[in-house]
């Protein structure tokens, strides 16, 4: 019995960037997108844009494959190969979701503020589940702080502004990156007062070390990959 992954027509069109309609290249694309999203989320100082379409697609593939595996007798060589691959992809996916949750817990007021202030047409930064988690986390933290400390303070000091209390993500952190599409005239800001700012060109395939702030839009668009 052969296990064939979910066929191409079920992949959301937005995930397919190449115009070639070939099962294998699409399947490989999905897997490399997951790995890229995992690495970007791991190394970026702020919460990246939500990739719920990709996550759902991969979950669908995994459950489809698992169902197939249930129907086959144990000890089949093919089944063990598929199972190993499923475990690998599951690890990447869990690690990706865990990084996102860690960042949500660390920056929860800012994440919620960003979500509230985005326009209706823009893609959301949080999946519905993550949004619910962030709101609950905020509510629980407020209740906790109130019960443990705030209610014992004098009345005029009993409020707390979460946006000021919780530090923001530091977008000026340094990151390592690899360039996927050539970029020109990226501004490099000076570290000290004596230096002046200068521009660099990023060639395809080169690797660099620089501040996250200037290249943040390039990471979001996929032109560079954090490593």
């Amino acid at each position: 019995m052969s296990f064939i992954p979910v066929i191409k027509s079920e992949f959301p069109a937005s995930l397919l960037q190449s115009s070639e309609s070939h099962d294998h290249s699409d399947a490989d694309l999905i897997q490399s997108l997951v790995f890229q999203a995992w690495l970007n989320e791991k190394f970026s100082p702020e919460l990246m844009e939500n990739k719920s379409e990709l996550v759902e697609c991969v979950m669908e593939q995994l459950t489809h494959m698992e169902e197939n595996l249930q129907r086959v007798r144990k000890g089949d060589v093919k089944a063990s190969v598929h199972r190993m691959e499923i475990d690998r992809i599951r690890f990447v996916l869990s690690s990706y979701l865990r990084s996102r949750l860690q960042k949500i817990e660390r920056f929860f007021p800012h994440v919620l503020e960003k979500e509230k202030s985005r326009a209706d047409g823009d893609p959301s930064f949080l999946s519905p589940e993550e949004f619910a988690f962030a709101k609950e986390f905020l509510a629980n933290t407020e209740v906790y702080l109130r019960n443990v400390a705030l209610k014992h303070m004098p009345p005029n000091l009993q409020s707390i502004d979460m946006l000021k209390a919780v530090p923001e993500p530091c977008l000026d952190s340094f990151v390592f990156l690899r360039v996927k599409e050539r970029q020109e005239n990226i501004l490099v800001e000076p570290e000290t007062d004596e230096q002046r700012e200068y521009v660099v060109d990023l060639d395809k395939g080169s690797q660099h070390l620089m501040r996250y702030r200037t290249i943040a839009p390039l990471v979001a668009s996929g032109a560079v990959q954090l490593i």
Binding site: Q31, F35, F43, V166, D172, F176, G205, Q207, L209, R211
Partner: protein, 182 residues
């Protein structure tokens, strides 16, 4: 990032094996593999090659660059130049370790290869330490590091990035502003 995670990424690389069993094509989520015929070479990802080797179902063919002459050349190049020479595989360290640990019997002159790769690694990491040191002391804002592999970057990642971030915070603390991440 854990070195184990870097190794996890390295395991996606393809390597040639010679199976001793037969199996028709497997349609994995990440692409197709096979068909497998005894005695005929086929390309599979390293994670699968290692597993099959452990179950004694295949022989692993070492990659082209895993050869004493080539590696000696690379080592000489590396020792001569101050910059990082291009190396044949982005994951040379991980692949050497994995393949030599699990299938040293399939690889000729395994011990020599191990020593050569270790020498190359030591030279490169020493160069990396020097350039990281000068990066910090000259307070540069940008560095280009082509030809560096992920495993090498990973050895200095936490130290270098954290120090650069703290230095930035110390400098920018002179300006009033919103609370920053500590």
């Amino acid at each position: 990032m854990d070195p184990a995670e870097v190794e996890f990424l390295a395991e996606k690389e393809m390597v040639k094996i010679i199976p001793n069993f037969s199996l028709d094509k497997i349609y994995l989520i990440g692409g197709d593999l096979g068909p497998f015929n005894p005695g005929l070479p086929v390309e599979v990802p390293v994670w699968l090659a290692l597993n099959l080797k452990q179950r004694q179902k295949c022989r692993i063919v070492p990659p082209e660059w895993m050869d004493t002459d080539k590696l000696e050349e690379i080592r000489e190049q590396e020792r001569k130049l101050d910059t990082f020479t291009p190396i044949p595989s982005l994951y040379y360290m991980e692949l050497t370790k994995l393949l030599l640990n699990h299938s040293a019997d399939n690889i000729p002159k395994a011990d020599e290869i191990r020593t050569l790769v270790k020498d190359i690694w030591d030279t490169r990491v020493a160069k990396l330490r020097l350039s990281a040191d000068s990066f910090i002391s000259q307070q540069e804002a940008h560095a280009q590091l082509d030809n560096l592999t992920l495993m090498e970057i990973n050895t200095t990642r936490s130290f270098l990035l954290d120090s650069l971030n703290y230095m930035y915070k110390l400098r920018s603390n002179l300006q009033p502003g919103r609370s920053q991440d500590y």
